[in-house]
């Protein structure tokens, strides 16, 4: 230690200039060395990946864009030796792919339904925006009612409720109709409501409960239903468009959205039922879930469409799309139930015990403590079900409902557009459309997952 510091010769007065890091440590080259070529296996995989991309992407781009035909009137435009995608075909069939056989003059109604759906859905999905309660009410309650009227034209034929089936009403009021609303039905409805209210109230009172409150609940149920039927019953002056004429993306979305919206609450109920202590509820839930999971969707749809009319009394012929909708909803509810049950089982017992110790009732415990955690846990599973449901809607083709893909397949058979590339063009387009929807759902679920994942962050 014989260093001297007096003259300052050994002490730097200024910072040494910062040297650039060795070239092997930074930049694209270093990144590649580290991530792509760090070992023999990694290098091989990288080369393989690059080959794959080189093999797939250029022909794809060439087919979809470079060699593609962009304008034309019929098949003549897309004939030729080195022709790529035939986009005029999609142009010509675009209306059908979206609306199916929906009458052209009435398509604005579908547009309104699409636009309103998007307008209501977007603020509902952005978690930070206010008025969630009103928004949810509008989307889940008001929107389906209005959409039904717009799409079908409303003015359903409500001619008999319960008493008229025994021929008791028409004799009293005759055949009066006001603005498409059948008086017989409404007298029937009000009388039936009063009867049922009296019956339920009396029964509950007999059993020692509060007959008055039971009757009041019945009243509200009847009022809500009455309002619903009334809105659908009024003749708003729109032409009737039967569901047979629906098709394309419209049908895909109607089935998928109904299935998604209906299957989640149903699935939650079934999952809770399956874990219930009450033997009858548990048994019913188990039977329901196992039945629907044990039957292929195609069988369900086929049965609902062609076999059901043979069992039902003649004249009662529920709408084909409705039958498919109910089938799809019940089917996906069974799957959803098992997803939710997985979440319920992952909640530690302590959560239940804590909730009970706080004196919460069963429904409060489920609503405030257990379900919020359980559902957050299984978001990937739920969205997985949604996505597969969205794609499964294609199966309705076998019961002659033309969804997006069905409409596309039907378009292939138009001799005016039969060319060697029509098939590829159509499927490429369908692939892009389906991908956009499914990828959108998937990204949104990731976002929600991250957003709600407050307690499990490590």
């Amino acid at each position: 230690m014989s260093m001297t510091f007096d003259d300052g010769t050994f002490i730097r007065n200024e910072m040494a200039p910062v040297l650039p890091p060795p070239t092997q440590r930074i930049g694209a080259v270093a990144w590649m060395r580290e991530n792509l070529f760090s070992g023999v296996l990694n290098t091989l995989l990288t080369v393989f990946g690059i080959c794959l991309v080189a093999l797939i992407v250029p022909p794809f781009v060439r087919f979809m864009f470079l060699d593609a035909v962009w304008a034309g009137e019929n098949r003549e435009a897309c004939l030729g030796p080195e022709v790529g995608a035939c986009w005029p075909f999609i142009q010509a069939k675009f209306g059908q792919l979206i609306y199916g056989f929906y009458p052209i003059s009435e398509r604005w109604r579908v547009d309104i339904v699409f636009a309103a759906g998007a307008l209501l859905l977007v603020p509902l999905m952005v978690l930070s925006w206010p008025f969630k309660r009103i928004n949810a009410f509008l989307f889940f309650v008001a929107y389906p009612v209005v959409a039904f009227v717009l799409l079908t034209g409303g003015n359903i034929n409500a001619s008999a409720f319960l008493l008229e089936r025994f021929g008791l009403i028409r004799g009293l009021v005759g055949d009066a109709q006001i603005a498409g609303v059948n008086l017989v039905f409404w007298v029937d409805y009000v009388l039936t409501a009063l009867l049922v209210m009296a019956a339920i109230g009396g029964l509950i009172a007999l059993l020692g409960g509060s007959g008055r409150s039971a009757a009041r609940t019945t009243f509200w149920v009847f009022l809500a239903f009455g309002l619903l039927i009334f809105i659908w019953d009024v003749d708003v002056g729109l032409d009737y468009v039967e569901t047979r004429q629906w098709g394309g993306l419209l049908v895909t979305l109607v089935i998928a959205v109904t299935g998604i919206v209906a299957s989640l609450p149903l699935g939650i109920l079934l999952a809770l039922g399956r874990r219930s202590q009450m033997p009858v509820v548990r048994l019913l839930s188990v039977v329901f879930i196992e039945f629907w999971r044990g039957v292929p969707l195609i069988t369900v749809l086929f049965f609902a469409t062609y076999m059901l009319p043979l069992f039902l009394p003649q004249g009662t012929n529920p709408d084909a799309l409705l039958r498919a909708l109910v089938g799809v909803a019940l089917f996906s509810a069974a799957y959803m139930a098992e997803v939710v049950r997985g979440g319920l089982q992952a909640i530690p017992k302590g959560q239940y015990e804590g909730a009970m110790a706080m004196g919460l009732t069963w429904s409060q415990m489920m609503r405030l403590i257990v379900l919020p955690q359980a559902l957050t846990l299984v978001i990937p599973g739920i969205v997985n079900s949604f996505i597969s449901l969205f794609k499964d809607t294609t199966l309705v083709l076998i019961v002659s409902i033309f969804d997006f893909l069905g409409q596309l397949r039907a378009s292939f058979t138009d001799p005016n557009w039969a060319t060697p590339v029509t098939l590829y063009t159509g499927f490429a387009f369908a692939g892009v459309v389906y991908f956009l929807f499914c990828f959108g759902m998937s990204r949104y679920s990731l976002f929600v997952e991250r957003r709600l994942n407050t307690s499990h962050r490590h």
Partner: protein, 340 residues
């Protein structure tokens, strides 16, 4: 008490009414709902396929329009149910559709054991072969040793086997699940010959890279009479559907078409034309429809030749010659019983 009794009586009467309404004939049902429900294919070029306007078009479709025209005088009063080959008969049996007009081959099994009636033949089809021109083959009998592309599990495959065995020829089958795969394989040269119904060949040919390099051989190795079908149990309905086709054939034979029908209605002297158009005789009455049924069909839809020409004929992309489907007096076998 008296009032109660009368209420019950009223209820009983209404119940009977309701029952009576259910037992209505097919024609009454169709008239009361205001349209004909017609089962068509989910897409077969030229027979039933959606056009650019989003309407069904094709030979099978036009036939249903003609039935609607005969009953309602309005060819648009028809609704179409696209059906797959599997559910077509179920849909007819369950009453979901009134007519099945879906390129259905008339066979004894279908006619006798399924509770169905075939009403006639709208198109005489038959299985044929397509081959590349440069193979220099002019007859199916020269095909020994050829590889043949076809669809699995169809009667096409059976007919093929029968034909080659009967003529003592060897062949190799290359079968695919869907029609599109079959065409792609043939186009790519994986087989020498493509076989399916002749009308189908015309449609598939359009999907080939160079349609002009291929020819259809003259042999037809199976009989495929395609026609509309109705359910058993309503002979009046059966008659109507049957005679709609006959009216169209008779109209072609008599030279009445949608353009000259109004003129013919006024000035025709030929009693056959007068009977067809309903100015003489009461032939609609027997079927429960208007006596001008023939006029309505021709005016709204056209005669057989007009329908054929605008759906599958030589001026359409399918370019199918009339062949067997020409009238009996013009070299074909389409023959309608007379209207009298």
């Amino acid at each position: 008490m008296k009032r109660l009794l009368s209420t019950f009586a009223l209820a009983g009467a209404m119940g009977l009414c309701a029952f009576g309404a259910q037992a209505a004939t097919k024609l009454e049902q169709v008239k009361s709902k205001g349209f004909v429900q017609c089962g068509v294919s989910q897409g077969l070029p030229g027979f039933s396929n959606p056009n650019d306007k989003g309407e069904w078009s094709g030979l099978d479709v036009e036939f249903c329009r003609a039935v609607a025209a005969a009953i309602f005088g309005d060819a648009t009063k028809v609704k179409f149910t696209p059906l797959s080959a599997k559910d077509r008969f179920t849909a007819l049996q369950s009453g979901d559709i009134d007519i099945l007009s879906r390129n259905t081959t008339w066979t004894i099994t279908r006619d006798t054991s399924l509770g169905l009636n075939f009403t006639g033949v709208t198109y005489y089809d038959g299985q044929g072969f397509m081959i590349r021109k440069d193979k220099k083959v002019n007859s199916a009998l020269e095909l020994s040793g050829a590889s043949v592309c076809t669809q699995t599990g169809t009667t096409t495959e059976q007919n093929l086997a029968d034909y080659f065995r009967a003529n003592n020829m060897t062949y190799e089958v290359i079968a695919f699940a869907t029609n599109d795969e079959v065409v792609k394989a043939y186009d790519a040269g994986r087989c020498d010959v493509l076989t399916t119904d002749r009308s189908g060949l015309a449609g598939e040919r359009l999907k080939l890279t160079n349609p002009d390099d291929h020819i259809v051989l003259p042999e037809i190795i199976s009989k495929e009479p395609l026609g509309p079908v109705v359910a058993h149990g309503d002979d009046q309905w059966f008659d109507i559907v049957k005679w709609v086709l006959y009216a169209q054939l008779n109209a072609e034979e008599l030279g009445v078409n949608s353009k000259n029908v109004d003129e013919q209605l006024k000035s025709a002297v030929n009693p056959e034309i007068k009977r067809l158009l309903g100015t003489e005789g009461k032939y609609g009455e027997g079927m429960g429809i208007g006596n001008d049924w023939g006029y309505l069909i021709i005016k709204n839809v056209g005669n057989y030749a007009e329908i054929y020409d605008r759906t599958v004929g030589p001026d359409t992309p399918l370019k199918l010659a009339r062949g067997l489907n020409a009238l009996w007096n013009k070299g074909g076998i389409q023959y309608a019983p007379p209207i009298r």
